[in-house]
C-alpha cells in the first residue's frame, strides 16, 4: 500500500498528495461545469465558506473526529499489509457497545452514585465497550485471514452487510421501546456527551450550534497512541514487519497469524470509537445507518495521509472541510448536491490509491536531474 520510492521525502508526503488533490478538484470542477454551474464559485464556497465562521470550524472538527477514527482504522491495517474495507460495519456494530452500557449499567450507576460520578464512569465503560465490540467485528475477519486463509477484503465486505442486517434487526426488535414509531432506541441519558454549545451554556457563554464534542481530544489521543504503537513499541514493529514481508517476519521470530489478529482487533476497535462519538455525542440514541459512509471516507483519509497519524489528522481535517463545505454548497447552489463531496472522495481514492504510481516516472526523472 505504501509505495517504495526513490523520491525525496517531501515529494512523497507533500507534493504527490497535493498534485493528486489538485487533479481531483479539477475533475470535480469539470463535473460542476457539466451540470452548468461556475466551478470557481463552487470551489470558493466549498473551501472558503466554512473557514469564515466559528460554526464552520466547529463542524469541520466534528466531521474530522469521525474521519480520524476511521482513517486510523484503515491505516493500522495497512501497516500490517491488510486492507480493511470493513470500517463501515465495525463502526456500525460498535453502536451496540456504545449504547448498551449507557442504557443499562448507566441507570444502575446513577441510582447509587451522584450524577457527577456516574456519568464519567458510564462513559468510560461505553468507550471501552465500543472499542471492544468494533474490535471483535474486526478480529473475526482477522482470524479468518490468519487461520483459515480467507481473504480479508472479501470477508470484511461481507461483514459490512451482515452488520447492516444485524443492526437493523437489533434496533428494530430489541432496542426500540414498545409502541415507539421511529426505529431507534430510547435516549441514552445516563451517558450523555455534551457538545460545545451545551458546554458553553453551562459556563454562561453563547456558542454556535454544532455537534462538535470533546471526543475530538480522544481522536487526537488515538492518533498519538497509534503513532506510539507503530513506531515506538515492540508490537508496532512486529505489525510493520508482517506488513513489509510476512516470510521474513517469521524468521525474526514473529508469529504473523497472531499479529494479523491483533492488528485487526485494534483496527476494528478504532472504527468502533466512531460509534462512541456518534451514538453518545450526536444522536444520543441508537439509530439506523448513523455511520453514513465515514468508514469508506476513512480509506481516502488513510491514503491521503500516507497512513501516518499526523497525515491522517490533516487529511481528516481536509475531508471535514469538504463535508461541511459540501453542505454549505448545496444550500447556496441548489443544483449542486452535497454528494459532489463523494465524487471528490472517490477521485482522491482513485488517484492516491490506484493510480499512485502515475506521476512517479515523471517526478523521478525530474528530481534525478536536479540531484
Amino acid at each position: 500500500m505504501s509505495a517504495r520510492s526513490d523520491l525525496p521525502r517531501w515529494v512523497d508526503i507533500g507534493l504527490i498528495p497535493a498534485l493528486n488533490l489538485i487533479i481531483a478538484f479539477v475533475m470535480a470542477g469539470l463535473v460542476v461545469l457539466v451540470i452548468g454551474e461556475n466551478p470557481f464559485r463552487a470551489l470558493s464556497i466549498l473551501l472558503g465558506e466554512p473557514l469564515f465562521s466559528l460554526q464552520g470550524w466547529c463542524n469541520i472538527l466534528y466531521y474530522a473526529t469521525n474521519f480520524i477514527f476511521t482513517g486510523l482504522c484503515v491505516a493500522v491495517a495497512f501497516h500490517a499489509g491488510l486492507f480493511n474495507i470493513g470500517g463501515e460495519g465495525q463502526a456500525y456494530i460498535a453502536g451496540l457497545g456504545a449504547a448498551t452500557p449507557g442504557l443499562f449499567i448507566g441507570a444502575a450507576l446513577a441510582a447509587v452514585l451522584p450524577n457527577a460520578l456516574s456519568q464519567p464512569i458510564t462513559l468510560l465503560i461505553c468507550l471501552v465497550c465500543s472499542f471492544l465490540v468494533g474490535g471483535l467485528w474486526g478480529l473475526f475477519p482477522g482470524y479468518l485471514q490468519a487461520k483459515r486463509g480467507s481473504h480479508i477484503v472479501i470477508t470484511t465486505i461481507m461483514l459490512n452487510f451482515i452488520a447492516a442486517s444485524l443492526m437493523q434487526y437489533m434496533i428494530n426488535r430489541v432496542y426500540r421501546p414498545l409502541g415507539m414509531q421511529a426505529v431507534e432506541s430510547r435516549a441514552v441519558n445516563d451517558a450523555y456527551i455534551w457538545n460545545l454549545r451545551e458546554i458553553g451554556r453551562a459556563f454562561g457563554a453563547k456558542l454556535p450550534s454544532t455537534p462538535l464534542t470533546p471526543v475530538i481530544f480522544i481522536a487526537l489521543l488515538a492518533a498519538f497512541a497509534v503513532w506510539y504503537l507503530l513506531w515506538r513499541s515492540k508490537l508496532g514493529y512486529e505489525i510493520r514487519a508482517v506488513g513489509a514481508n510476512q516470510d521474513a517476519a517469521v524468521y525474526a521470530g514473529i508469529n504473523p497469524a497472531r499479529i494479523i489478529m491483533i492488528t485487526m482487533m485494534i483496527s476494528g476497535g478504532l472504527a468502533g470509537l466512531l460509534a462512541f462519538h456518534e451514538v453518545l455525542g450526536t444522536q444520543h440514541r441508537l439509530v439506523l445507518e448513523y455511520v453514513q459512509g465515514a468508514g469508506f471516507v476513512g480509506i481516502a483519509v488513510a491514503l491521503m495521509g500516507r497512513s501516518h497519524p499526523v497525515g491522517i489528522v490533516l487529511a481528516a481535517l481536509l475531508f471535514g472541510l469538504l463535508s461541511e463545505g459540501g453542505t454549505q454548497l448545496s444550500f447556496e447552489i441548489q443544483t449542486i448536491s452535497k454528494d459532489l463531496v463523494v465524487v471528490i472522495q472517490g477521485l482522491v481514492v482513485l488517484f492516491m490509491g490506484a493510480l499512485e504510481q502515475a506521476f512517479h516516472p515523471w517526478l523521478e526523472r525530474y528530481f534525478r536531474r536536479e540531484g
Partner: protein, 320 residues
C-alpha cells in the same frame, strides 16, 4: 410460508436473479483474467443511471441499454488502466469506482431532474416490458400450466439474454481459444507471456466484457425491473454478485445456481416481512444476511473450499 404465493415468489426470484447473474458473469470474466473487480456495484449503478436517462430522452429502452453499456465500458477501462497499466491496487481502484458512481449519479441526476437524484418515470414505450408473444394471455389463464408458464415466460427480453449468457460464458471460457488463454492469464500470466500472447490485451478484453455485462445489468435495473433510477438503486447487488461468484467457486454454471438462490432469498424477503417456519418467526434480515453468512462459512473452509484464480489481484510486470 404461504404456498399460494409460490408462483409469484418464483417469478420474482427470476427477476431478482437477473442483475445478479449479469454482474456475477462480469466478475467471472474479470477475475478469471486476474483482475479483481470490487467495482461491479458502481458500474451497475452508473449503468442504471445512464439507461434511465437515455431511455427517457430517446424514448427507447434500446438506446438506454446501448449507452449504459458504453458508459460502463468507459468505467471498466478506468479500472483496467489502473490495474493493468499502472499496476495499482485493484481493490482500491474498485472502491474508488464505487464512490465515484455513488456520487456522480446523484450529483448529475439531481441537477438535471431536480428530484433528489431520481430520474423521470419511464413510460411503457421506454421500458423493457415482458415479451408480448401471440396468445400469451390465453396461456397464462389456462388452468394448471398457466401459473407455471407465467413463472418462466412473463419476462422481458433482458431476462432471457442474461440466462443465455450463462451457457455462452461457460462455453467460451472452457472451449474457445480466447477463453482458455484468458483463464491462463488469470492463473499464470508469465506462461502466457512467454507463449507470445499479450497479457495486457487479454486482460483489457476481459475488463471490457465485464463492463458490457454490468451495463446490461444496470439497464435491467432501471428500465425493466423498475421504472426510473433512484439513488443507490443497485443496493449492494454488485457485492451480492461478487459473493455469488465466490460461492460458485469462479465457475459459470454454479454461478447461475448461486444467483438464483440469492435471488430467491431476496424475493422471499420482499414478499413476506418475516416468514414463519415450523411456527418460529424468521426475521426478514436473516434472508438479507444469509448469502453473506453462507459464503463466509464456505470461505472459512468449513464446508468445501473456494479457490480463486491464482493470479487474481496481482498486477503483471514482465521484469519479475
Amino acid at each position: 410460508m404461504d404456498f399460494v404465493l409460490l408462483p409469484e415468489i418464483l417469478s420474482s426470484t427470476l427477476r431478482m436473479s437477473v442483475p445478479l447473474i449479469l454482474a456475477c458473469l462480469a466478475g467471472l470474466w474479470s477475475e478469471r483474467s486476474g483482475i479483481v473487480d470490487i467495482g461491479l456495484e458502481g458500474k451497475m449503478l452508473v449503468g442504471a443511471f445512464v439507461a434511465a436517462c437515455s431511455a427517457s430522452y430517446f424514448h427507447s429502452p434500446w438506446m438506454g441499454l446501448f449507452l449504459a453499456i458504453v458508459v460502463c465500458v468507459l468505467f471498466a477501462l478506468v479500472h483496467g488502466y489502473a490495474s493493468i497499466n499502472q499496476r495499482g491496487n485493484q481493490v482500491v481502484s474498485g472502491v474508488a469506482i464505487n464512490m465515484l458512481a455513488a456520487g456522480l449519479t446523484v450529483v448529475i441526476g439531481n441537477s438535471w431532474y431536480k428530484q433528489g437524484g431520481r430520474t423521470p418515470q419511464l413510460d411503457q414505450g421506454s421500458r423493457f416490458l415482458p415479451i408480448d408473444f401471440p396468445g400469451h394471455d390465453a396461456l397464462f389463464e389456462m388452468n394448471g400450466i398457466g401459473p407455471i408458464a407465467k413463472i418462466f415466460l412473463d419476462h422481458s427480453i433482458l431476462v432471457y439474454i442474461a440466462l443465455a449468457l450463462v451457457p455462452l460464458s461457460a462455453w467460451a471460457l472452457a472451449r474457445t481459444r480466447f477463453g482458455l488463454r484468458l483463464r491462463a492469464v488469470g492463473e499464470n500470466p508469465q506462461a502466457v507471456d512467454t507463449a507470445g500472447i499479450s497479457v495486457a490485451r487479454l486482460r483489457y478484453q476481459a475488463v471490457i466484457i465485464a463492463g458490457v455485462l454490468c451495463g446490461i445489468a444496470g439497464a435491467y435495473l432501471s428500465t425493466a425491473l423498475q421504472t426510473s433510477f433512484v439513488r443507490d438503486m443497485s443496493a449492494g447487488r454488485g457485492f451480492l454478485a461478487l459473493t455469488a461468484l465466490i460461492f460458485a467457486n469462479w465457475r459459470a454454471w454454479p454461478a447461475l445456481w448461486a444467483c438464483l438462490l440469492f435471488g430467491f432469498l431476496q424475493a422471499v424477503a420482499n414478499f413476506m416481512q418475516g416468514a414463519h417456519l415450523f411456527g418460529v418467526e424468521i426475521p426478514v434480515q436473516v434472508f438479507n444476511a444469509l448469502p453473506y453468512i453462507m459464503t463466509i462459512v464456505l470461505l472459512a473452509g468449513f464446508i468445501g473450499k473456494s479457490v480463486p484464480p491464482k493470479a487474481s489481484g496481482t498486477p503483471y510486470s514482465k521484469d519479475r
